[in-house]
Amino acid sequence: MTSPVGTSVTPSDPAPPVAGTLPAAGPAVLPLQSTAMSGISGDGFAVTSDGLTKRFRGGQVAVDHIALAVPHGAVYGFLGPNGSGKTTTIRMLLGLVRPTAGTNTLLGGRIPEDSQRVLPRVGALVEGPAFHPYLSGRDNLRRLDAADRMADPANCAERIAGALERVGLSAAAGKRFRNYSLGMRQRLGIAAALLQPRQLLILDEPTNGLDPQGTREVRSLVTDLAAGGVTVLLSTHLLSEVEQICTHVGVMHVGKLVAQSRLSDLRSQTAQRIRVHTTRPELAAASLTRLGLHDVIAEGAQTSGQSSGEVTALLGSADPEWVIAALVHDEVPVLAFGPVPVNLEDVFVTLTGEGFGVSG
């Protein structure tokens, strides 16, 4: 789903975000301070947090003053390497873990005070599926439904059948959970989140353990739900997942939310690079440098007497047509010319200063 969400991420300040706290060379995305979002009421946002902090016994700060703002209707990619604090944040959002400091709201209700009122409208998958191993998939869902005071026992069977159908688990519904594959377990977890009509889904790594086909199915399911108006907070460490289905993104790094923005803003604010494919990379590099483009990188390849290569450079404020004209004027044999696709991975490496490994 690519349709933009009409709500700005910064309701108090609709002006374009400005780079501030981020590394100078980094893309311009929202700088975040814990104060930036204070003053947000839960209204207009499906999820907010203000100064949300968790310090575990022993002093380790797992989550450090984060200010989430997930607009209604968004598919919010909550991105970060393993160990960056995503799951602890999600546990705090749901009231499972008490924050050391800060507050958060779901669907306008404060957690944990309003949990009983708002959580029935929230479906959650937290740190992988968990069910009783000796019960069947269907019996596990029945158990969860029985615990839900808001669930109507009269249509329990239909709702369970519907949820199982939706995740493609109908055939295995009678099998014991113990005998489920990882992918089937994940599907059952999603089915549990869909037992009731939801306004908000909080899905922690929903495609974990799924095969490519299952991953596609889950992504299309999330897209369908979002199209129906459900807000989705999707935690993941997979950039591709964010690129494919998310409208918004928040990036966690060592307990801090280092960026939060619309995905399209993040892309458009990323410094554009151009790429020249040529048989004379050294000529092209010299020409681009003369033009005043920065960060010119030439990658040549000598193969059987024929040399060809690629030169990339930051476009900056230059006009691409003008760059092509200059290259031709400098008699650079241009085989191809175009923009370098914005690579989110580079963006995030810039933001987090490292790749997507495990945070310390």
Partner: protein, 303 residues
Amino acid sequence: MSAAEALSQVPSDASAVDRQEFPPVRSRRMSTRFLRSELRLIYGRRRNIAGMAVLAVVPIIIAFAVRYSGSPRGGGGGGGEGGFIGQATNNGLFVGLAALTVELPLFLPLAVAVVAGDAVAGEANVGTLRYLLARPVQRTRLLAVKYLGVLIATITAVLLVAVVGVGFGLALFGAGPVTLLSGTQVSTAVGLWRLLLVCGYLVICLAAFGAMGLFVSTLTEQPIGATIAVVGLALLSQILDSVTQLSAIHPYLPTHYWLSFGDLLRDPISTDQIVPGIVSAVVYGAIFLAAAWARFGTKDITS
């Protein structure tokens, strides 16, 4: 507008989604659905069924041993509760009493501890605790349902031993006059009533013990650990209770009054030990339920 309709509407502009009205929270009528689900979980586990089979087998062994050994008064000791086995030949009711007596030090507490230790720690161990709480289930409600489950399992365990004992006892020895510990003879009906009182008293004692188990269960994610810890407590209490030099603390031990149920088989019933026994159980139960609530109510669920 029903929730399904609300969800199926595709908004032209996502910002229009924001305050779609969901149906108001259904009126919170009392429902036993969660409790029934809990009981299905307890009674559906093969481990628990096997445990109940062990509880039930003891009175059967006693009944057949007495019936076919030919010397009913040979073993088991003379007076007091041990004498129940000897009395079995007079009236089958005593098989039930004898079985309760021999199972009280270990088997019955073990049965209660398995269910109580599993109550919260078991859900934490498989990870279902977080999903129950996020459903949402109020923490107090979860504890209440869990403790009710423990209570019902306790009643089941005690009644199972008594009923199987009485059943096999009556089948093998028939019903005769019941000689109470004070020497008075009463009818089988009165004897059954007294046995029911004994069961009630033991349920109260073991329910307090179950509260201890529930508390320990909130401390750990290892159900077996909780069970072992709380059974260990029961055994330790019985050991301390047998050291005469420690008689000063005996009245405060949680298991001290358990065997006083024999007083319910006197005529008239002696309440010297029964009343403090009930008070002790209620106090222990209240303390540990409060502790479980205080602990679980604010606990970070990281399992």
